[in-house]
């Protein structure tokens, strides 16, 4: 396959960026999108040019490190009917056609400052987790799993929420650059578990407070997040978060300063 790539190049946050066009030839349909970018980078290095920076780690769709906008969609999710929702590393070039032009851009949000080219700093998501995405539990020997019973539907819903890999696609896809799908999945996956109850009220208040401090937008329930999520996390988590937050505010929980 021969492809024309239009890639966002920006040397640093301080400098201006622009889309630069590259031709990539002899791309195997079995390559992943990241392997195709590797091929481009090898070509750039051989030409003495600066390779394109992008984040990646496991390349198995489970770590959440990679993520770029592909033709205006986060991870390319929503572009191909046949392709399941996944991370950029599990999108294969067979989804594209020979001769395609592909636009590749970084996640764009105030809360995700650009580092270089396609790499952005997503530590804002880590700070949201630090604000409340934990439980207080003794460390040491793992307790007997059956000592605390959890209803099947709660454990299923909690597990679905816990599949969030924190890639930031929801923020990238959201017209408001809101991280509500991310934050709600963290709030819900702990909030549905018995172990998550002691901090349940403070968790949601503090995590939303941190989310606002980081400069994310607000949710308008449009749903671009859910269809862009590599794990297909449902919008129902956002509703659960809202329910928890309103309840917590009524109960007197306030964000810690």
């Amino acid at each position: 396959m021969n492809l024309k790539l239009r890639v966002w190049r920006q040397r640093s946050a301080a400098e201006k960026g622009k889309m630069v066009t590259y031709e990539v030839t002899d791309v195997s349909p079995d390559m992943s999108f990241l392997e195709m970018l590797d091929v481009l980078n090898e070509q750039l290095i051989l030409n003495g040019e600066d390779p394109v920076s992008f984040d990646h780690d496991c390349r198995e769709g489970i770590c959440g490190s990679c993520g770029v906008m592909i033709n205006g969609r986060a991870h390319g999710n929503g572009l191909f009917d046949s392709h399941p929702q996944t991370a950029t590393c599990q999108l294969h070039m067979r989804s594209f056609k020979d001769g395609d032009t592909i636009d590749v851009e970084p996640w764009r949000a105030t809360a995700f400052p650009l580092i270089k080219d396609l790499a952005v700093d997503r530590s804002a998501l880590d700070r949201i987790i630090q604000a409340g995405g934990y439980i207080s539990a003794p460390t040491g020997t793992a307790p007997e799993a059956h000592s605390i019973l959890v209803a099947k539907k709660d454990s299923d819903a909690a597990f679905d929420a816990a599949t969030c890999i924190g890639c930031g696609a929801c923020v990238a896809a959201c017209p408001n650059a809101s991280s509500m799908l991310f934050t709600s999945s963290k709030v819900v996956h702990l909030g549905l578990m018995p172990q998550g109850q002691p901090e349940r009220n403070d968790r949601v208040v503090n995590m939303i407070h941190q989310q606002d401090l980081e400069g994310f937008g607000g949710c308008t329930n449009i749903g671009e997040c859910s269809v862009s999520c590599p794990k297909g996390i449902s919008m129902e988590n956002i509703s659960r978060l809202n329910h928890d937050l309103l309840g917590a505010l009524r109960a007197g929980a306030r964000p810690k300063s």
Partner: protein, 241 residues
């Protein structure tokens, strides 16, 4: 309060873990303000739409109904008391709704100052995409609508006319009716997304309810918009005169 990593933590309730109040209003609280004020406005719209249909009952009934609105609660309370309570509640709801919307709109603008070169939306609907500008259209329309039919100053019949005369005189003019049709269609789309969004914001939606809520929002928006559109269009085509 910092989490205690040192000791086995026992279950405490949130009251014991209360932390200092911070001035920052959370975006979700603003959304709740928007949802609750929206519900108040929707309840009023239902009554308004039903009242409008009395245009079909003739001038006397319609003007009598208009008079009755001013006398609700009499003689227990002085004339127009209930009317003014309704007006104040509506004004507060509109101001709160607009404040929350503008504030969240600005937050969203700040959250992404640099737009994508290529962006493709797949989940958004026409209704969800036009919420903000549709809301601006509705706010401008409400001002015109009050000047036109409540105060009568922007009405062909002028302010010293009966409500029935003002409605018939205004809607006989195709341009005035066109303004109303555009605004009511904007209202329909606003309600279509607004009802779903309010349900989410107030934490009342889930995966199984999602379809029902969205279906209800569509049906409700269509019925309410149609109910509002029928009287002006009937005047325009001469069914009401």
């Amino acid at each position: 309060m910092e989490p205690n990593f040192g000791a086995v933590v026992t279950v405490t309730n949130s009251g014991q873990r209360r932390t200092p109040k911070v001035a920052k209003t959370s975006s979700v609280a603003k959304k709740a303000v928007m949802a609750v004020s929206g519900i108040i406005l929707v309840l009023y719209l239902i009554a308004h739409m039903v009242g409008n249909l009395k245009l079909f009952a003739g001038a006397e009934t319609f003007n009598g109904y208009s008079e009755w609105i001013r006398r609700i609660g009499e003689p227990a309370v002085p004339g127009q008391t209930v009317l003014w309570i309704i007006r104040v509640v509506l004004l507060v709801a509109v101001v709160a709704h607009a404040w929350a919307a503008v504030s969240l709109w600005r937050q969203a603008k700040r959250a992404r100052p640099q737009q994508y070169v290529a962006r493709k939306a797949v989940a958004q609907s026409y209704a969800s995409r036009t919420m903000r500008w549709g809301g601006v259209i509705l706010a401008l329309f409400i001002v015109y609508h009050i000047l036109d039919l409540t105060l009568g100053v922007a009405n062909p019949e002028g302010h010293d006319s009966t409500p029935y005369d003002r409605a018939v005189a205004g809607f006989s003019n195709p341009f005035i009716t066109a303004v109303y049709v555009v605004a009511l269609l904007a209202l329909g789309f606003h309600l279509r997304h607004g009802i779903w969004s309010a349900t989410q914001t107030l934490g009342q939606s889930n995966r199984t309810r999602e379809r029902t809520v969205n279906a209800f929002a569509t049906v409700f928006a269509v019925v309410l918009t149609a109910g509002f559109l029928i009287p002006p269009l009937s005047v325009l085509v001469g069914i009401i005169e």
